[in-house]
Amino acid sequence: MIVGDFGTSYCKFLNLAEDGGQPTILASKELPGNLHVDLATGHNGRRFADRYVNELIALARGGEAMIAEPDYVLLDCGSRDLKFVAVAGGKLKDMGWNTECGASMGFTIELLGRYYDLDFKRLDAPETTFPVTCGVLGMSHIFDAVIAGMPVSQAVASLVKGIAINAHRFCGSPERLYLSGGLVDNPVFVASLPCEVITLGRFLLLAGLARQAGREAAPCPR
């Protein structure tokens, strides 16, 4: 069985039939039109799969698969959206999915990095923060700051920090946060989150799909 996480910028795949198989990743813009998987999640997932699992369910199932604690907050920061689940006593406590206002944060960060040719691995989390609730609208802070003399790298990092603080607030301002999604690879973003952070990589939704596939394959309890 092949499962796929069809994100806005990147798609991730895993063949569950291959023991120890590793996920593969492909830019969404390079996705072949005739691609087909068995089980999918993500914005584009319905077009390419027999069965679809919505992203919040995939996230929650991924949390079940990868976090061995009864109480946690798991936040996924992708290209286009933020989503989180909060679990208490092993049960769902809260959830959220921010697809409209506040969206496109990951995409904006990647866009800025390419435009200004920045390597986020060489940047530190800044002292300064831009108050942003939306990636696209937040860009004007960068342009204003650069005009005022702030170095580009600091201005972009300040935006990233603002996005991180907004994401932290979105999921209820936990003291400890499990983080998944593409932004786990951005050290400025991770270091800017004002809490303890445990990163779980960008393939957690695939783990969630695998778990969901196992649940669906399991015989009905009698």
Partner: protein, 253 residues
């Protein structure tokens, strides 16, 4: 309420739930009743933009859209505690805008007629359609469904967009103002505030409605809840949240 000759009316609109005595008189006179809170016309909302702010309760925007597009002889609008302050102001706007009587009423009925539909095992959309149809009749249906054990709960007003209801299982109990509607006591605040802490419940808030405060508060107190604020249409994110909540809370098992 001024005295009106109901026999002169053939088509009237209602906003909220007018007192049962008013509905009974309309029923006796054979007047066709249109529930202006519901989606009755497909006209463009831009047409009412001079009358109401764009950022406003979707139900009341729908009321105005219906009122300006339907051929009505009168409108009965509940401006009391059974509806909302917004309806009070919409009444003023409709009075000034439309060439027909806009009759302000206050429903403080206290006689309970029960809420069997709210507790029935039936498709949730069908239950809501039946409840909102029921506001046009003074008498409840003769045949009433039996209650079922709830697996999920929906608290709130009837949403403007019923597509939100599709993911719920048939054994979903309805709470909040919708239950008050079926009970024909829209101002019964105790009934409105009731919910079952044993049942995973979606606390639905129609954006910009005053009842969002109660929805948020009750959701906060409820041990297994989803607070859901939705404006004009239920987007993919809202539907996904409902679907995920129902599955992860075990309501679909």
């Amino acid at each position: 309420m001024r005295q009106h000759d109901f026999a002169k009316f053939t088509q009237v609109g209602i906003v909220g739930l007018p007192p049962r005595s008013v509905i009974a008189r309309l029923n006796q006179a054979g007047v066709a009743i249109h529930d202006l809170d519901a989606r009755l016309v497909e006209a463009n909302l831009e047409g009412i933009s001079p009358l109401l702010p764009k950022v406003y309760c979707a139900i009341l925007r729908t009321v105005v859209l219906n009122a300006v597009n339907l051929q009505l002889d009168a409108i009965f609008i509940d401006v009391g505690p059974g509806k909302c302050d917004g309806a009070l102001h919409v009444a003023t706007i409709l009075e000034d805008t439309l060439p027909l009587p806009v009759i302000r009423v206050i429903n403080t009925d206290t006689k309970d007629f029960g809420h069997p539909l709210c507790q029935a095992r039936q498709d949730l959309t069908e239950k809501f359609l039946a409840i909102t149809e029921g506001v046009k009749q003074a008498q409840p249906p003769v045949i009433q469904p039996k209650p079922c054990k709830p697996k999920a709960g929906f608290w709130g007003v009837p949403p403007r967009d019923f597509s939100l209801l599709a993911p719920f299982p048939p054994a979903t109990h309805i709470y909040g103002w919708s239950r008050c509607l079926e009970n024909k006591t829209p101002a019964n605040q105790a009934l409105e505030a009731y919910c079952n802490p044993q049942v995973p419940t979606v606390f639905f808030a129609q954006s910009f409605c005053a009842k969002t405060a109660l929805a948020k508060y009750l959701a906060h107190r409820h041990p297994l809840s989803l607070y859901l604020d939705v404006d004009f249409n239920a987007g993919g994110s809202a539907l996904a949240k409902v679907q995920a909540f129902l599955e992860l809370s075990g309501a679909l098992a």
